[in-house]
Amino acid sequence: MKFKNKLAQIASSLRDTNTSRALFTLLIFFVASTIFVNRFFTLNNLINVLRQSALVFSFSIGMAIAMLLAGLDLSIGAVAAYSGVLAASLISNGYIVLGIIVGLLVGITCGLISGVIISKYKVPPFIMTFGMMKIASGLALNFTKGESIYGLSDKFRWIGVGTIGLIPAPLIICTVLLILLAYFGKRSVLGRRIYAVGSNRNAARFSGIPCERTLMIGYALSGLFSGIAGLMFVARLGSAEGIMGDGWPLQAIAACVLGGVSFAGGEGTIQGAAIGALCVAIMYNVLNLLGVSPSWQQFLIGFVIIFVISIDFIKSQIIRKKNISNKLRTMQKTA
């Protein structure tokens, strides 16, 4: 009985049109890669792709929340770097638990600061998070003075390189996060408020939703997940560098867009972002397997994003036009 309920829940989350569109995109990527790319559909490679997509997903969560709030969080990489280097300096001296706590706290704090300035002082998210990116990055680089912090205990590194059987640890951690977020996404009060504030701020305010608080918590969550991503990456690389997280915002936006999360706010799901992360990971993996040079990789990924968005846009225009012509026809019939 409970199992049927769970299936129904999963089905209803997929009924969200954005997410099902994302699933369709993923299917095309996957099938095309299997057919055309040698060695794509091998056990080792698929595990690679899953692991890499889990990592991309980890830093896309924050961007997805910001986008659902009709905003953007450009600071995800830099905040992760700052969290990572502070945590690493403690962990390399033996304070594993304290290091993790500090890393997460720094992430939350940076996110909260962004959130407060965006909500209370009405600074556009793009500008505020861009500034936070520079600040966090500068603090991280200044702290490390250009060198990398290494010598991290193997126990801590498990979250980045460990496995249970064949399954990589980042994948396990991110799957757990995904299930929690997908479940609470639209079912929790906070989740519903985020969607409301994102899709129509004024309507939300008039319904009595505390918009400023929702924004603050949303960006604070983004910072928290950036901190988590930072810790995972540091564990994976075995060292923390001040320049970590460079290029994350772009990949995160790609993952969210491909996953059906809209810039306009209030549309899309965290599950969608996970699907988008898989798409991004497949793209990079395929390009590496084919030996495509990085400059072309950049070009192709940008091209794919624009292509997918355009298809979405054209489809929604066609649906709109069909609806309008249907309405006209029924009006004529009854006239």
Binding site: Q52, G146, S148, M244
Partner: protein, 333 residues
């Protein structure tokens, strides 16, 4: 109440970084009226931090004031020009610069020329302007030496993958030439592929993971810098293939030396960042103090490039620390 909480949060974030940070190294004890400045590409790569030390050592040797500045991580040559202008305004007596772009830096050098400030160039060439000397290393010779080490270690037979640096970077191009010169003459060595990881550790890890899927049989991964080599090491470790593949890097950075000590990285080669700035900064000081005209080209690091591998890493470190300590610079490894 909310406002104070907010202020406390800001202070917490900024303070946490400042509290743990060590202070900037102070300028040397005595000072003539002379002030020499060094401009590097950034201070977020350990390589350029070592360059900073090299300049400082030279300045200490003569008791001269010393400043080392650089653009932020993703800064460009424009930022370097701005720094040059600021330094000229401040009244420095000589500038040593490591250009981000060989053509772009010319405007900055010309501005220094107009102000009568002597300019020295290090590591990356400048294609214009008047400067007293260029100090550089031979990237190609360095790569050739490393390539010969790899060939010897593999007994002349093996499959090799090359990890290149940032596309278009002169150092990457020159190192590629060096590897090609040696590998192409060895019939037993097969270069499976050359791909770039942009001198970046995380990118190298991702690229290596995918390369391990593409190729079942790899004997060596040769990286054009240490960051990429260490990324490859991590990927090999995770895949359980580190014992079957030798990994080499370039630069002899701190973390590479640590990896050598732990028996993970196989070898790296000293690119002598300290000498690359010590030599031109010293030349600048001697030009200012004694009017010594330097040669137009100074190739730093006489003799064979030093390969650092698991056997000689301790000795190498001690030597670097000793050399710097002699000039009052504390280098920590």
């Amino acid at each position: 109440m909310k406002k104070t909480l907010f202020l406390v949060l800001i202070v917490l974030v900024v303070f946490s970084g400042v509290v743990f940070a060590q202070g900037q190294k102070d300028t040397p004890k005595e000072s003539d009226n002379l002030h020499v400045a060094l401009i590097v590409k950034n201070l977020s790569n350990p390589f350029f931090v070592y360059m900073k030390w090299g300049g400082e050592a030279a300045a200490n040797k003569y008791g001269v004031d010393y400043t080392c500045l650089a653009p932020e991580q993703d800064g460009n040559v424009e930022a370097q020009i701005r720094i040059m202008e600021d330094l000229i305004q401040k009244g420095v007596d000589a500038i040593v610069v490591v250009p981000i772009d060989s053509r772009g830096i010319v405007a900055g050098i010309e501005r220094a020329n107009k102000a009568g400030v002597p300019v020295f160039v290090s590591n990356t060439r400048a294609l214009g302007g008047e400067f007293l000397s260029f100090a550089g290393i031979d990237h190609t010779a360095m790569a050739e030496e490393m390539a010969r080490y790899v060939v010897k270690s593999l007994n002349g037979k093996g499959k090799v993958i090359e990890l290149e640096g940032t596309t278009g970077a002169q150092s990457s191009i020159d190192r590629g030439i060096g590897f090609k010169n040696v590998f192409s003459k060895e019939p037993g060595i097969e270069v499976l592929t050359r791909t770039t990881a942009e001198y970046n550790k995380a990118k190298a890890m991702q690229v290596t993971e995918d390369l391990l899927v593409r190729y079942d049989d790899i004997d060596a991964i040769v990286a054009y810098n240490d960051s990429m080599a260490l990324g490859a090491v991590e990927a090999l470790k995770a895949a359980g293939r580190l014992d079957k593949v030798m990994v080499t890097g370039t630069d002899a950075n701190k973390d590479a030396l640590d990896s050598l000590r732990r028996g993970e990285l196989t070898a790296t080669v000293d690119s002598n960042p300290v000498a690359q700035t010590f030599v031109p900064v010293e030349a600048a000081i001697r030009y200012l103090m004694y009017n010594e005209i330097p040669p137009a080209e100074m190739i730093v690091g006489e003799g064979k490039p030093t390969i650092v591998d698991q056997k000689n890493v301790e000795a190498f470190e001690l030597q670097v620390i000793e050399n710097l300590k002699g000039f009052g610079v504390t280098a920590e490894f």
